[in-house]
Amino acid sequence: MNNIPEIAPTFRFQWEEAQDCYVILYPEGMVKLSGSAGEIMKRCDGIKSTEEIITELEGAFPGVDLKDDVRNFLDNARNNGWIRYKP
């Protein structure tokens, strides 16, 4: 199974008090994440699989079908190099 996302070692993900949001940090740069993007990234811990992340988010935000949003965001995050899948 190679669907367990984790933050790539060349990026840092953290909460920024002064910006009031989660951010991705990389050499000399920063991307501010939207609330939902932050909720997804927060769960990319190298333990949970994509399915587990979706289940967890649907538990936290009941009544919404998040499957596609999560998958799209993770595809994007991977294209940007922010996350990688555990081998």
Partner: protein, 383 residues
């Protein structure tokens, strides 16, 4: 109008110039030519206080730079404090003074990223430009940096003496597995201004280099990000220098003076506040120096009524001062500036002389303490 919005700005980017001491002598170094004046360096405690105060005000990106930051023995300690405070910490280094053991200690202390500069892609030119035998060591250090899983930026300052080797330079960065490559065109202040006749590339050189840079950007796009910027002397619009004065950048020089840009020390009539006397909060929000060119009220024509002023803030204050004698003028890179013609005439003069024997054999003024003292005491520069 000006001010209200910009006053709520945050110093997101803190550049800590720990020292101007450096084992290298690059003739394009962007440090002030007065480096010999800065021997009273901040203490470890001073720096820790600066880091804490700036972080509280929202600073996120931290660059340890210089001179050569590795010269400071307390670098490991400062990195550890920066990590504890939550900074993303960038080490901007020549690689000289580094070894595998130190890279490991930096990792343990929480350093996020290392940027190594190369002077060229071949040993002879690299060592000549840097004034030291450093090429092989730099290559070795780049490999060590990747072994420790750091994101690595390789930085090569481009100018007339190395820009024709851009293909070799890019091949080298591919071999070394860089994540990012900055092909930084020399900015002509500090030492490079002294050496501009020898360093400014010709239009033909730039046209050739751009083709190669584009080719590699495309070819390597999945593995490596290549940033290539042509020198702004060849443009018709200035860069949005520092994203605006006092908008996001805060530089602290080795002696503790706080600057909105690392080249700003040369501007006349400004008293730059020192972190030994003032808090970062006061310096950022209340000091005259940081408010001087904030917003738009300080502008003259053509910038004052220009619809593009919110895009480029009238360009670079230092460049405006250097080239027109008045920092409130439009940056002459802009073709609306009455000084633009003069700038391009200078560029063409250098272009037409370059390649001729007498011109090319004029020696470079290397960046070192002796030359700094000579320039300051206004003696003729040693030929």
């Amino acid at each position: 109008m000006a001010g209200s919005d910009t006053n709520r700005s945050q110093p997101l980017w803190l550049l800590a110039e720990l020292t101007y001491r450096c084992p290298l002598q690059c003739p394009y170094c962007s440090n002030p030519v007065e480096i010999a004046k800065y021997n009273d360096e901040l203490s470890t405690e001073d720096w820790i206080r600066v880091l804490q105060q700036a972080r509280k005000m929202g600073a996120t990106q931290l660059g340890f730079s210089g001179g050569e930051p590795l010269v400071r023995r307390d670098l490991e300690e400062l990195i550890a404090e920066a990590r504890r405070l939550g900074y993303y910490t960038n080490l901007i280094t020549s690689g000289v003074g580094m070894d595998a053991d130190r890279v490991k200690k930096f990792k343990e202390a929480g350093l996020d990223h290392i940027q190594i500069s190369f002077q060229a892609s071949n040993e002879e030119l690299n060592n000549y430009l840097g004034g030291t035998k450093s090429f092989r060591h730099k290559q070795e250090m780049a490999r060590v940096v990747k072994e420790f899983e750091y994101p690595m930026v390789l930085n090569i300052v481009l100018h007339r003496k190395n820009v024709d080797q851009i293909r070799d330079i890019l091949d080298m960065t591919v071999d070394l597995n860089a994540d990012y490559v900055e092909l930084a065109s020399t900015q002509y202040y500090g030492w490079s201004r002294v050496n501009i006749d020898q360093l400014l590339p010709t239009r033909e050189q730039l046209a050739r280099a751009e083709v190669v840079a584009k080719e590699y950007q495309e070819k390597m796009k999945d593995r490596m990000k290549i940033i290539y910027v042509i020198p702004d002397y060849f443009e018709n619009r200035p860069k949005a220098c520092m994203n605006g004065w006092g908008a996001i950048f805060l530089t602290i020089a080795p002696d503790g003076s706080a600057l909105p840009c690392h080249a700003a020390a040369q501007l006349p009539g400004l008293e730059f506040p020192n972190v030994r006397d003032h808090s970062i909060d006061h310096i950022w929000n209340d000091s005259d120096a940081f408010n001087k060119y904030r917003g738009f009220d300080w502008m003259q024509e053509p910038c004052r009524s220009c619809p593009e002023k919110e895009k480029d803030f009238g360009g670079c204050r230092c460049q405006a001062y250097m080239l027109t004698g008045d920092a409130t003028n439009a940056d002459p890179v802009c073709d609306k500036s009455p000084h633009h013609g003069q700038l391009h005439a200078d560029v063409d003069r250098i272009g037409s002389l370059s390649g001729t024997k007498e011109f090319e054999s004029k020696p470079l003024v290397f960046r070192n303490m002796r030359n700094s003292k000579d320039i300051m005491s206004d003696r003729t520069i040693p030929a």
